[in-house]
């Protein structure tokens, strides 16, 4: 058991291994994620019944809830990756923590903007300074803080440590977001889906939401892999395996999202 775990630890810490395995997994994350998202969104937009209270504006839920959930999960992953980096000095872990920040920020912005637009027909206002909305805004600024640290501090080691500390300290915000709708009076409705209770929505509304949630998480995995691979190439460009990879790229194509480099070459 321990041996298997430590072997996994060393593999995870190896940029070469991460680069190879992520290259193999990325197409699956992209395909499964895209199929689920298209299914869920088409179902949610065109086939799910309208809400008896909110009418058709409730269809925003199929992007709002996945974005809100993912923005918090991504933050937790970023904080844990930062912690692992600090405690075990794992380089790969810091890379993952770094690349999650801009993705997480963009997802938090989706949650905030779709929530604001949804608020207008439902609450009569785009924004209120209540606990749920304010804590989500803070989450977005925490992501911005991590990005700013990486841009501002030139020493990579220092930036990684400072960003990890900010991410870990800021994770106190996650339970605040989660319980804000229970602890304080708010316009925001309580959670629609919980792991313990039966869904309060009918299946025709609920299933597409599950599809878009899973699909969005798959896309997130794809984005994290894509950005992490770029960072690996940059940092490891002196190693033999990256050099070999660059040479072989001239003849073969290892990228799955269509590699513009080899396409250009074919046209030359």
């Amino acid at each position: 058991m321990w041996q298997a775990l430590s072997r996994l630890y060393y593999k995870l810490g190896s940029p070469k291994w991460f680069y190879e395995i992520s290259g193999r997994w990325m197409p699956w994350f992209l395909i499964i994620g895209s199929v689920l998202m298209v299914l869920g969104i088409v179902w949610g937009l065109a086939f799910a019944p309208a809400d008896y209270l909110q009418g058709n504006s409730f269809r925003i839920i199929y992007i709002h809830v996945p974005a809100a959930m993912l923005s918090q999960s991504a933050y937790i992953i970023m904080a844990v990756a930062g912690l692992v980096g600090l405690v075990w000095k794992m380089k790969m872990s810091f890379i993952v923590a770094k690349v999650i920040a801009p993705i997480g920020a963009s997802v938090a912005i989706i949650a905030l903007v779709t929530g604001a637009i949804w608020g207008k027909p439902t609450w009569g206002t785009y924004w209120v300074w209540d606990a749920r909305l304010t804590s989500m805004l803070i989450l977005m600024f925490l992501y911005f803080g991590v990005i700013a640290i990486h841009n501002a501090i030139e020493s990579e080691e220092m930036a990684n440590k400072a960003a990890a500390v900010l991410a870990i300290v800021g994770s106190i915000n996650i339970p605040i977001i989660k319980y804000s709708v229970e602890w304080w009076n708010t316009l925001h409705q309580p959670a629609t889906i919980t792991l313990t209770n039966k869904p309060t929505m009918v299946p025709e509304m609920f299933i597409p939401l599950v599809l878009t949630i899973i699909g969005f998480y798959c896309w997130f995995g794809f984005w994290v892999f894509a950005r992490t691979r770029n960072e690996i190439l940059l940092r490891e460009h002196r190693t033999n395996w990256v050099k070999k990879l660059l040479i072989s790229k001239v003849t073969a194509n290892d990228s799955i999202v269509g590699d513009p480099e080899t396409n250009n070459r074919a046209g030359e």
């Binding site: 937009l45 065109a46 086939f47 009418g55 709002h64 997802v107 989706i110 984005w223 894509a226 460009h237």
Partner: protein, 57 residues
């Protein structure tokens, strides 16, 4: 299909503007998340290849 015509699907009972605005914004951010690492990858590989060629000379 919940809606009886394409125009009622677009209108969504006067909520169309909110729904489509949300999905449009979502699509833009998602597209950016897909395209941005692709551009970076292109640039990184090009730079590294140029650097390698320079070192070989």
């Amino acid at each position: 299909m919940f809606f009886d015509s394409f125009s009622s699907f677009i209108q969504m009972g006067n909520h169309g503007i909110y729904v489509w605005l949300c999905y449009g914004f979502f699509a833009a951010i998602v597209a950016a998340n897909f395209i941005s690492p692709m551009i970076t990858r292109h640039k990184v590989i090009k730079d590294l290849e140029r650097q390698m060629r320079r070192e070989q000379k």
